[in-house]
C-alpha cells in the first residue's frame, strides 16, 4: 500500500480504492439481506443499507475529485430514502393489518 501525500493536515490519507471496496461490501451485504430475510421490515432496512453504501461511494468520489455534485446528489438520495421509508412502512402497517404478517412469502398474490 503506497503512502499517499497529504494535501492538508488532519485529512485522511486512505486511498479511494478502499472506499470503493467498503461500499461494495456494504452494498453486497444489503443485497444478501434482501435475499436472506423474509421480514419485510428487515428487507426495507437492507435497502436503506444499500442506499447508504451508494451514498458513501458518492461522497468519496465527491471528496476525492473536489466536485460538489456528488454531495448534492447524496442529499437528494436521502430525501428519496426518507419518503420511501415513510410510504413503505405505511404500506407494511396496512398489510399487517390485513394479514397479520410481514412475511413477504405470504404476499404472493401477484402471479398468474
Amino acid at each position: 500500500m503506497q503512502e499517499t501525500i497529504q494535501v492538508a493536515q488532519n485529512l485522511p490519507s486512505t486511498p479511494q480504492t478502499w472506499y470503493l471496496i467498503l461500499s461494495t461490501i456494504l452494498f453486497s451485504i444489503g443485497v444478501m439481506g434482501v435475499l436472506f430475510r423474509r421480514n419485510a421490515i428487515i428487507i426495507l432496512m437492507c435497502i436503506e443499507l444499500m442506499l447508504n453504501a451508494v451514498n458513501l461511494l458518492l461522497v468519496s468520489y465527491s471528496s476525492y475529485s473536489g466536485n460538489m455534485e456528488g454531495q448534492v446528489f447524496v442529499f437528494f438520495v436521502m430525501v428519496v430514502a426518507a419518503a420511501e421509508v415513510a410510504v413503505g412502512l405505511a404500506l407494511l402497517v396496512s398489510i399487517y393489518r390485513n394479514i397479520a404478517s410481514t412475511d413477504i412469502d405470504v404476499l404472493s398474490k401477484m402471479k398468474w
Binding site: 499517499t4 494535501v7 485529512l11 485522511p12 490519507s13 486512505t14 479511494q16 480504492t17 470503493l20 471496496i21 467498503l22 461494495t24 461490501i25 456494504l26 452494498f27 453486497s28 451485504i29 443485497v31 444478501m32 439481506g33 435475499l35 436472506f36 430475510r37 423474509r38 421480514n39 421490515i41 428487515i42 432496512m45 437492507c46 436503506e48 443499507l49 447508504n52 458513501l56 461522497v59 468519496s60 468520489y61 465527491s62 471528496s63 476525492y64 475529485s65 473536489g66 460538489m68 454531495q71 448534492v72 442529499f75 437528494f76 436521502m78 430514502a81 426518507a82 419518503a83 421509508v85 415513510a86 412502512l89 405505511a90 404500506l91 396496512s94 393489518r97 410481514t102 412475511d103 412469502d105
Partner: protein, 165 residues
C-alpha cells in the same frame, strides 16, 4: 497513519453492524445495529470532509428513519418468535449470490477510472455554506421539487396507514 486506523475501525464497525442487521433473528437488534452502522457511515463522511452531510445523515437516518423503523417494529410487536425463516437452502443460496455479486462488482470496479486526486481534497466542499450555496442556487428547482415529493409521501403514508373506512 492515524486516519488509516480510524478508517479501519470505522469500516470494521460498519461491516460488522451490517452483518448483524442481516443475520440477527430479533428485529429489534437489527434496527439497533443498523443505527450503529449509520453512525459509522457518518464517521466516514466526516473523514471525507463532508461535515454537513454527516450531520444530515445522522439526523435523517438515525434520528428519523430508524426511529420510524423502531416504532413500526414495536407497533407490530415483532419479535424473535414471530420472525419468519427461510429454508437453509435459500439462505446458502443468498449468501453465495451476495458474495458473487460483490465479486463481480469489485471486478468491474477494478477497471474504473479513479479521480484526479489521490487524497480527498479539502476545498471546503463539505461545509454548510458551500452545500447551502449549491442547493439554493444551482439546485434550487430540484430542491423545491423534493419538498413536493415529501408532501406527497406524507399524504400517502397517512392515507395508507389510516384505518380503513
Amino acid at each position: 497513519m492515524k486516519s488509516e486506523i480510524i478508517f479501519y475501525l470505522l469500516s470494521a464497525l460498519s461491516i460488522i453492524s451490517a452483518l448483524v442487521v442481516v443475520f440477527t433473528k430479533n428485529p429489534i437488534y437489527s434496527v439497533l445495529s443498523l443505527i450503529v452502522c449509520f453512525f459509522s457511515i457518518a464517521g466516514h463522511y466526516v473523514m471525507l470532509n463532508s461535515q454537513f452531510l454527516a450531520i444530515v445523515h445522522i439526523i435523517v437516518y438515525a434520528g428519523a428513519i430508524m426511529v420510524l423503523m423502531l416504532f413500526t417494529v414495536m407497533l407490530l410487536n415483532l419479535n424473535k418468535e414471530s420472525e419468519p425463516h427461510k429454508s437453509s437452502l435459500i439462505k446458502v443460496a443468498a449468501i453465495i449470490t451476495g458474495g458473487l455479486l460483490m465479486l463481480t462488482i469489485l471486478a468491474s470496479l477494478k477497471t474504473t477510472q479513479l479521480t484526479a486526486y489521490s487524497t480527498p481534497a479539502d476545498l471546503g466542499l463539505g461545509s454548510v455554506q458551500s452545500v447551502g450555496m449549491s442547493l439554493f442556487t444551482e439546485y434550487l428547482l430540484p430542491f423545491e421539487i423534493s419538498s413536493i415529493l415529501f408532501m406527497s409521501a406524507m399524504i400517502g403514508a397517512v392515507v395508507l396507514a389510516k384505518k380503513e373506512r
